[in-house]
Homo-oligomer: 362 residues x 2
């Protein structure tokens, strides 16, 4: 199948929007059928639409490659169309195999020297200018064959993220990666914060397509082989590319971090202060949202009376909350969650216990 060879203007970056994530950490809003990237969490646009909007700058970016689940193709296309985003190509994963195989497909569908900016479609970046400046800063290193990861300066001892330890400064704002660190325990997270030399790993990467394929061949040959076979037998349908399902299913389901980034040489990190959040819990969303004078984050058909520091959100019924403090209340047409902000990670338990319902509420 054809590779991406847009020719207009000087060399620009192809955003690769990873849209295949699943998850129910924001249940009952996020569900198996409607994961986070398809939701409006902070305004009128979905996370996918916001992500696409962040890389709309034509001086820096080409049209995006979007990779998502084949079962979500129409939803992806609809959301991109609503946001007036014309993807260069929509690559449809026949099954979910984590990010390394997905990114391999993107690289295979690109010209060898295309610069690919790989990013999740379900994170928030409040300061898009800072993000784009960081990408521009890193592009020289990537053009020369380096791999870049974008770090986020931590503002708390977070145990929910992986970290990247900075090494020597290669150029202003660009550092060698000393090492990647898995999610730490509380004590280590606190020591990282004190040390100051650690950034959160935001899962955003920049590299040439051929460089990525090279490290895949070296460190994850199974993934490379499966993705290459799936790509070779792919079927094109307009701007949609459908890799071969049997071949793709043979790819080990590994993250790009784990499969190659933690092992490859010539990796640099660009630490950024860009208001990033992975919105991995209702508490994280609460922190990212703007609040009213009582520290409540309120959206939808909600009447708060004497509430403080609550997240109150409805996509369905009228929600009336009286005298609440530090609570999360999220209502949809068919499910309502009430949990303290502190306990908001426990949504997982609820989802596990509800998994068997089979009525679409999970």
């Amino acid at each position: 199948v054809a590779t991406a060879t847009e020719t207009e203007g000087p060399r620009r970056i192809t955003p690769v929007l990873l849209c295949g994530g699943s998850g129910t950490r924001l249940w009952p809003l996020s569900r198996r059928a409607t994961p986070k990237q398809f939701l409006c969490l902070t305004g009128d646009e979905t996370m996918l639409q916001q992500t696409a909007g962040r890389v709309r700058d034509e001086a820096l970016f080409r049209r995006p490659l979007v990779i998502g689940a084949a079962t979500q193709a129409d939803e992806i296309a609809k959301q991109l169309a609503e946001a007036a985003v014309v993807p260069f190509r929509l690559i449809l994963e026949p099954c979910a195999r984590n990010t390394a195989p997905a990114v391999a497909l993107a690289a295979l569908a690109s010209a060898a020297d295309d610069l690919l900016l790989v990013m999740p479609s379900d994170s928030l970046i409040a300061d898009a200018d800072a993000f784009r400046a960081g990408v521009a800063l890193a592009s020289g290193w990537a053009e020369q064959g380096g791999l870049v990861t974008f770090g986020v300066r931590p503002d708390r001892a977070e145990t929910g993220y992986g970290y990247v330890k900075r090494g020597a400064e290669i150029a202003p704002g660009l550092f060698e990666v000393d090492r990647f660190v898995e999610k730490p325990d509380q004590a280590r997270a606190e020591s990282f914060l004190r040390d100051g030399g650690y950034d959160w790993n935001a899962g955003i990467f920049l590299f040439r397509a051929d460089v990525l394929l090279g490290v895949l061949r070296t460190f994850a040959p199974d993934i490379y082989a499966a993705a290459a076979a799936a790509h070779a037998a792919a079927r094109a349908d307009g701007d949609r590319l459908l890799p071969d399902a049997d071949a793709f299913a043979r790819a080990p389901p590994l993250s790009l971090d784990y499969a190659v980034m933690e092992k490859a040489e010539r990796i640099a990190v660009v630490p950024l202060d860009m208001g990033w959040s992975d919105v991995g819990s209702w508490q994280a969303l609460y922190e990212a949202l703007s609040k009213d004078g009582d520290d409540n984050a309120v959206s939808g058909d909600v009447l708060p009376i004497d509430c403080q520091a609550c997240l109150l959100k409805s996509d369905g019924p009228l929600v009336t909350a009286i005298g609440l403090k530090d609570l999360v209340v999220v209502a949809t047409r068919d499910a309502v969650l009430i949990v303290s902000r502190e306990d908001s990670q426990r949504v997982r338990e609820a989802v596990e216990r509800l998994a068997g319902r089979g009525d679409g509420t999970v």
Copy 2:
């Protein structure tokens, strides 16, 4: 129009079910269109159905007279039919004029010497045997021309109810009424509880129809005149009686207590310990309901995880509650309320603020 003159068997009591109450103290379950008497709050039967079931004993009671709003006629008929209750007559108030005019209509539609047991259709009585025993005990006094009110032995210093102070004991379990007392403040409520001589006024009365009409003529002649005119011009439609709207509208909207009981002579009180509740708030319903091992009262499609002493109720969406304590969560198809049990009287504020919505949610 005809009066009630059933002839079968010895003299029995005609239950008069007052079904015209409105109110939104149990919002969002109770609404203008569906007040409390029409709701299933403690089991599979509505409050009206439970009330009718309480006076089904054929040795003691005739078929009931039911008085409700004309706009609710079909709902009343449907609920009574579901509970296999065949009312002697359904009197339809053309407009809401409080209880004294409604009871006047019932008395006018009855034979002069019928014993009428007047009671709200939206209270709980856990011990129906105790209630019926009290009624039987009081019937002699009522046959002789006395008026009876049924008191509830207080178990707390409640400021939400009126009280009845007992006087001398007329017969075992039957006391003269010393006086009626309006809703007291906290200090007086506590002194009543300590004193022991005060009972809650449950709004349940027993008297002969002619005796009631006599005290109405004496103490509330406007009500008597309006009700008599409305009854004289009433239209019968099968078992439904439709009093004249213009005449009835002229009745001053007073409660039976205020209009006559607090003024009449020969009033006795029968204090009962019958598990009574007016279910006037979510807190009151919580107290009346049976609880699980964590002191939660749970009904409907609800998943509680580590909750304590909560009222969790859904008639609509799945409700998942994690780590909550002392909260009320009530969900319906189109509205959800979250409030602490302690603050549950504040539902009133919410309803006032929502009154203008006009979408049926209030």
